[in-house]
Symmetry: C2
Subunit: 345 residues, 2 copies
């Protein structure tokens, strides 16, 4: 089959690789219907540290079950399924607590020995614990929206939950990427009254407004902090969703939080730039979040996508085939594309 | 009157100062019955940065109301009261939300222009919002325990609440000072099942065990992390109370937290040593806490002290008069005393 392999910074290729086969009785083989490129794929693409050049890449996919191992219950060939961006056994203490990203048998697609999502098919370990069936036809126009359940939608939701967003609450979303936009959707869904999005790409912030943002702040750094304080009676917002992952963005997030507030962070931290807790101490601002246990949130978020309460699929502004993957990475890295949908069929 | 003044590192003196007088109609004058020395007083005593040598010091006191301004309701001369370590107006948005440390009119005892607690009397701004009446006689043997309501007991409680301690929960307390010991009490009070205290002073850890600690870990740093993981099936504890305030102690706290767990930090951060969120990200460990809104917690904690459910007054292991304050600081700084009670009468 064909799958995407990353060889180094700026070097992403679609190659012929071995077809996946069942190797454990808990495995399933899924033929990928849709996958996509994530902002976090751009870190290795841009040359950040990464173990093992030559490894598969991509961690978001939905597709059709082709084959299941003998111990897989509840899934049959032909089922349309979405996978969260990590696999998990569904049985360990962490999985039972809905923190499947800490599963003792879990892993991230594309990590050593596993298939990446940006290919024609994937061997799914612990398929029963990992995959979620989708009650739509394989040609449904909801598919792009449902694909966001793999990562960006639950990740935005994780930021909102970690930031304690509540009905009537005030929220700042740091970042206008796909996760930030999904953070706006999630905050709106949880009943926030005021949602300030920080971003300077008008096509993105326009979509943020459609997703429920009430204010757009194009400024950055100290100017953004001042602007957001102006907008909130000098106080900042109770909840802040940090959806970027740099030391600068996290510091900004902490500074626009209201005293007693909470920052929910989901941006993959890219620098060792530390958070000085002295800045948090007198203001009683807390930080929570981290890698999103998407598997935990999919059942809760799925109905709203299915019934069209909102359409997170709008974060995709390009659609390509596998042949276009290298171009897709380039467009996202150059911010010409917000999020690129890949149809490997 | 006589009051304690700090002139520089290691230089704390009791001096004659002006008697406090009512200057606002919301003021009260309180004659101090009992005060004490706090671990955080030791930071300026040890020569950490501090604005204004020659300023008053001390922020924990209980005493008898001597005089009230014309706008003070609910307090009369002769009332025995305890003060939290900050004053607050009781009326602003933050006070109404029980975050009195963020009061728009609030301040810390001993800060510029205010009286310190380690003296014979204190002018209390916003007395009605600040002080809490104590329904005991002025010679009650409960007074030392009630004095802990000013700071260390609610601060330990704030750490426990911020760390999400729940019935049946597992807890690590980093630090065996008075706040750490009160953290043990608070975690026990909230129903924690397992309470591991880190400390190597056996007189303190013995008291921690009496307060409800189930395990004592004398190791530090990496050895402590390993020991706590051994004690918890390799996982760490869901809640961690950081009661020290150094970068090292905070890093240790983060590392002994179970995945998905929470660090409640109340140690005043002493170094700019940053927290690397990369260490928190994949483990979904959050940090919350900060300066404790003691005023918010006093009504909840008071009954348990009054009715003898526990005796936090046991953290005091020395009792001195005002003349002994300099000696008291020295003993605490040299760790010969855990916490020094000062009777200025």
């Amino acid at each position: 089959m064909r799958a995407t392999v990353i060889h180094g910074a700026g070097d992403v290729r679609v190659e012929n690789v071995a077809d996946p086969v069942l190797s454990e009785p808990t495995d399933a083989i899924v033929r990928v219907s849709l996958t996509c490129i994530c902002g976090s794929d751009l870190w290795p693409y841009r040359g950040m540290e990464r173990d093992g050049a030559g490894s598969r890449i991509g961690h978001e996919f939905l597709g059709v079950v082709e084959e299941t191992g003998s111990e897989v219950n509840g899934l049959r060939p032909g089922d349309l399924v979405v996978s969260p961006f990590t696999w998990s056994d569904g049985e360990c203490a962490y999985c039972r607590e809905r923190l499947q990203t800490s599963c003792v048998n879990g892993g991230l697609w594309g990590s050593s020995g596993s298939d990446g999502a940006q290919g024609e098919a994937v061997r799914v370990p612990y398929a029963e614990g990992t995959l979620v069936r989708l009650p739509v036809e394989p040609d449904s126009e909801l598919l792009p929206g449902l694909l966001t359940l793999a990562d960006v939608l639950p990740t935005g939701h994780h930021a909102a939950v970690s930031a304690g967003v509540r009905p009537g609450g005030t929220v700042t979303v740091v970042g206008d990427g796909a996760v930030g936009l999904c953070g706006v959707l999630a905050a709106n869904r949880l009943g926030a009254e005021r949602i300030i999005v920080m971003g300077r790409h008008t096509d993105r912030t326009d979509l943020a407004v459609e997703f429920g943002a009430t204010d757009v702040v194009p400024e950055r750094g100290e100017e953004a902090v001042e602007r957001i304080r102006e907008l909130t009676g000098g106080e900042g917002t109770r909840s802040v969703l940090e959806c970027v992952g740099t030391g600068d963005s996290l510091r900004t997030a902490l500074r626009v939080a209201r005293e007693g507030g909470r920052v929910g962070y989901v941006g993959v931290p890219q620098d060792g730039d530390g958070v000085d807790v002295r800045e948090m101490f007198t203001r009683n601002v807390g930080i929570a979040g981290g890698v999103c246990p998407a598997r935990a949130y999919i059942p809760e978020l799925l109905p709203d996508v299915l019934y069209g309460k909102f359409d997170p699929g709008r974060v995709f502004d390009r659609r390509i085939g596998l042949d276009g993957v290298s171009e897709g990475y380039r467009e996202m890295a150059e911010r010409k594309a917000l999020k690129v949908l890949v149809d490997p069929s």
